[in-house]
Subunit: 679 residues, 2 copies
């Protein structure tokens, strides 16, 4: 059992207080780094110009240096002739001296203006010497970059806590610096623990067994740490063994500023994190009231640092002896991937920011209308991953899968909606604040498809991305759910394959029922085959719709509102088979692939689905029916620029070939249009 979860803000405050007490709640020591390695680093102190720039009066042009007063009276019709000299330090005695200079050359001390070479003419003077003729009088300091024009010695070049950009490096070099003081980068140890874990490299080589879990939290955390300016060290996987974990943590504490100990932070029989932290220092927090991510551990472990000797960080750079921190902070990161990644954002990023003199990262925010009710546990701060779309000039947002194990919910998320403690959630239609993961401008080019999912939508997403022609985001809620979303103005497209039992025509009657008053366009994407998905070899010899009623086989069904479910119910009705007669009728899955997965794992014998799903998981397919899959949209959307790249695809041979390559797909109907006018 772990301690009572404590609220997020209290956990953060407790951790900060402990860091402050150990001298850790401040920027790290500075180090001097060469400018060529300094981009993106943070200045540890203000930098002042050592030299002026230019550090002398410089010619701004290729041309000739002269005294402006000598040019007085020169005009196009009455040019003045100057004597070409080589004198530098002292003013020559020659009348109207002039000297060649290139851009950037210093001005002779006796000169105070430059005439461009294009505005002069070489001449031979009366006395036989070389001369230069000019045809306009010059003001003093014409085409001269005066000393200090850019920076004057002692001027502020950059303040402290400034993130260096390419042009900053130029200003630093130009003002006489070859190095710059920046905060040392935080060294972060990432220790994955778990006897069930296997490295991705090993899986790619040797495959994987049930019960083995691919270790990738350390990959995600390391990439996060690097993005936030830290230097991550990924530990090899440590088995679930108290001593082994303790040893790893003790080692890591010696030369790291922060330890992320991944998993084992819960209360299972093999969860050692809390005990290890306790054994090596102090357990501050065990369990934070934040979802996903509950079993977060915050603590401090002792390190054996005894000397103040400089540490060599990167070749050639000695670190200023650091203040001693006899404790090293440690964060026990939960094992579920979404929890792990969010723990990085919530707990790790602010510490790394602080250590580099920066404020915590604040994502861009966007107000949006919630399309579905979100329930939340009163006691927790809840981080809900959402998709965001701009439909008819309004931003709408839809929660994505809430499962802490579903990393794709973060991959697909456009942002996060935070449901604060003491709230039970937010109602559909309410306005919420989205903390964005992507540039708000991308959303204006995103096509939002909600409804039945088809693999062709993945191909569309892929082709659009390849061409840089916008983005398709899709959410799978079944055909009917899509039409409801379309009616509510929550998406641009609804994928639908709803059979009208009376006419045998797909989609039209249902679309008319759900969107009676709008001009609607039905764009046929594909024809495809539906049939029984069965284990390879079809051991139970499942065939025909009537197989549904057999008492020796177990079905896995689709959810209500799915086109596939409508088809099954229609065919069962024709045969007079009642749902109660179908074993497994009540087990609902939300996608073709989930149905296939249930059959692969042996928990069901068959289910209705498309052939591509069978092939994906190496199942057999018993064809039963041919159906039509349409994209439904308003006339306004159909005519909009946003949808144009998608429409173009439907007439693209490379795209059609890719779709036709999927088993059971018929592209002959692709791009057919049916228009329904509103009443």
């Amino acid at each position: 059992m772990y301690l009572e979860d404590i609220p997020l803000d209290e956990a953060q405050a407790a951790f900060q207080a402990a860091l402050a007490a150990a001298g850790w709640w401040q920027p790290l020591e500075p180090e001097e780094v060469p400018l060529a390695q300094a981009n993106g680093r943070i200045t540890a102190s203000a930098v002042w110009a050592k030299l002026s720039s230019p550090h002398y009066h410089a010619s701004a042009m290729d041309g000739y240096a002269l005294r402006a007063q000598d040019s007085e009276g020169a005009t196009e019709t009455q040019p003045l002739q100057f004597t070409l000299v080589e004198n530098w330090d002292t003013l020559p005695d020659d009348p109207r001296p002039i000297r060649a200079v290139n851009t950037g050359h210093p001005l002779p001390p006796w000169a105070n203006a430059v005439v461009m070479i294009e505005h002069t003419q070489q001449v031979v003077l009366a006395n036989g010497r070389s001369g230069i003729e000019i045809r306009a009088s010059l003001p003093p300091w014409h085409h001269v970059r005066p000393m200090g024009e850019d920076m004057v010695a002692t001027e502020l070049v950059l303040p402290a806590n400034h993130k260096l950009r390419p042009v900053d490096l130029g200003a630093l070099a130009g003002s006489g610096h070859a190095t710059v003081p920046v905060y040392r980068q935080p060294r972060v140890a990432i220790i994955p623990t778990g006897s069930e874990l296997v490295a991705a490299e090993k899986v790619a080589e040797k495959g994987i067994q049930p019960g083995e879990i691919i270790e990738y939290n350390s990959l995600v955390l390391a990439a996060q740490v690097a993005e936030w300016g830290g230097l991550p060290t990924r530990w090899p996987i440590v088995p679930d063994n108290f001593e082994a974990i303790q040893t790893a943590v003790r080692q890591a504490a010696q030369d790291h500023d922060l330890i992320l100990l991944n998993a084992g932070s819960s209360a299972g029989s093999e969860d050692y994190t809390a005990d290890v932290v306790q054994s090596l220092g102090q357990l501050l927090v065990h369990g934070v009231a934040v979802r996903p991510g509950h079993p977060v551990i915050l603590g401090m472990v002792e390190n054996d640092k005894v000397t103040n000797a400089p540490i060599t960080l990167s070749p050639g750079h000695l670190v200023t002896p650091s203040p001693l921190h006899p404790f090293t902070p440690i964060i026990g990161v939960p094992g579920y991937p979404v929890s792990a990644a969010l723990t990085g954002e919530i707990f790790v990023e602010p510490v790394l920011a602080r250590w580099q003199g920066q404020r915590p990262f604040q994502p861009q925010t966007l107000p949006a209308t919630l399309t579905r009710k979100v329930n939340s546990h009163m006691g927790d701060d809840d981080f809900v991953r959402v998709a965001v779309g701009e439909v008819n000039g309004r931003f709408v947002t839809t929660p994505i899968s809430r499962g802490a194990g579903v990393i794709t919910s973060l991959v697909r998320a456009d942002g996060i909606v935070r449901i604060p403690r003491f709230s039970e959630g937010a109602d559909a239609g309410s306005e919420v604040t989205v903390h964005l993961y992507r540039d708000a401008r991308d959303l204006a080019q995103t096509i939002l498809a909600i409804g039945s999912h088809d693999l062709t939508l993945d191909l569309i997403a892929q082709f659009l991305a390849e061409r840089g022609a916008g983005r398709l985001a899709s959410a799978n809620v079944g055909s009917l759910g899509g039409l409801v979303a379309l009616r509510r103005g929550e998406c641009h497209l609804a994928g639908s394959h709803l059979l009208d039992p009376e006419t045998g025509i797909y989609n039209q009657s249902t679309v008319r029922r759900y969107l009676p008053n709008e001009d609607v366009v039905l764009l046929t994407l594909v024809g495809r085959e539906q049939g029984w998905l069965v284990p390879a070899g079809n051991p139970k010899k499942i065939a025909g719709w009537e197989a549904a009623a057999r008492d020796d086989v177990q079905l896995v069904n689709r959810q209500r509102g799915a086109g596939t479910r409508v088809l099954l119910d229609y065919e069962l009705g024709k045969l007079g088979i009642a749902p109660e007669q179908v074993r497994g009728y009540g087990r609902e899955e939300y996608t073709h692939l989930a149905v296939a997965a249930a059959i692969v794992s042996g928990t069901a014998d068959f289910g209705l689905g498309i052939q591509a799903a069978a092939r994906a998981l190496k199942l057999d397919f018993v064809p039963l029916a041919h159906e039509q899959y349409d994209l439904v949209m308003t006339r306004q959307t159909y005519d909009s620029d946003r949808i144009r790249p998608l429409l173009d695809l439907l007439h693209d041979d490379r795209f059609k070939t890719a779709v036709a390559a999927m088993p059971g797909y018929d592209v002959s109907v692709m791009g057919q249009v049916v228009e329904l006018n509103g009443r």
Copy 2:
């Protein structure tokens, strides 16, 4: 002379066409990189799941696996007892079998639900065996993560042309990948040329001589290239010698995708870039009608690539043999630092983006009101660096120095206003579009100070940055200019030190004259000494105001409207000295430091300024007067949150100590407030 400048869009089109003809206007070849090195790289093709995740039905909790139907009827008052078994593959004969599982463990094939350990109790059964008691019935699949919940094999994980983020690496590893196909990174050679150039490291070690120029364009260009995903190679400085430059370019062409040849692109006697390009291939464009940056060169040089052998890029990664490009693109980058950096943004970034399947970077934009007229050459696309501030809820923007040599104009710029070809500029008060260099949210925390500049403002900027408490941006237009800007609502603060000759009181009467109707607060920042800045040792023995009239010394003056100029004019008037009597009266500089610089360089003998400016450039100082420097602001600004961190500073001992350490500064008056109520 170089070819006629051609318009920017035509130059870009010509370059693209040449790249396309050589097979260069497309993404580079893919390479497979380990996931741990892939963050920030761009997927070169769509990635599909190799494994499902989870790849088996997994327990979502620490607890016990059982058959849901066995739990039917269990209640708080009527618990059901289960037999603890070890069986895995086959359903045991025991009544109500149950088996311990941890989070992530596979479910035994005979089980279909998990009960949390917290909701169970260990018991001894009647037959003496160990048992588990549960007090609620479970639905099927309770606390089970079904196979494929996250990803199903063959599903799209990521599309092509996707920039990898930390969570993406997790999804790739979780779906069975250990590497990912990404576009190879463009290799970019950066060759600085110029006999006058010296490396920053050498300058820091040995100092610098007049005529020597610190080479830093290659530093800026290399950092830009790295930010845009490329791999830069900085060449050592090549002297102005045709053969040496030709050799460097020929070498670079062998193993780089793009060459940036810096400077020598103009028409001076030592400008070889065009000739070198011509000698090795084809000169496409010489001179682009863009300011700053005119002498841009675009071309293609031959390379001697003869084999298709794989190239080793980084340890362990072989590159797919690349298509042969017998020509390597080359860009002649102008020498002025602002031109060089903007050439990077305008010409280099789009090519690197294309090579990595990305669209060119589009900065955020912001509409803002221009505070000063901008003149522009009709024939050019003009990139004007601007400061941006939010004053009274309105964004205002002011051009910064236009000089192509002033790198600090880019360092200080908040963005760029593009004045297109065929426009002669934009009027004060007109609405323009700013292409932002910084997050628009930073601007909401920025205090904009326009007026007379004082070194204390630099210290304020530094202290605010150190504390992460907002930002101070300042523009120097003299005291009167600041009051005008304040009246127009173009800044928050105006720094002012304007003496009223009649009363001897600073600022009040002038502020009243310029802002008669507003409630205004005058906040005294410092007292400071004004005096003659003279060369070290004061060789001409300059003393007293009357020195201004001497005919053996040359003054450098401040611009009209500067408080220092007002002071000088006032004192000269008292002595009856007319401006015509003062040699050099007409030479105007805009800052104390610029006046000091003029004296250091020997082009003037003395000027009026503050003691800190004298010390900055090691001049002597002849004290003449004590003056007061105020920050003028509206009552509304004074009461606003934005200004609070600055007000706090004025009562901060560390800050006061830093100011007092500057010579001639008096902090005893700091923070004094005079309020003037509007009529």
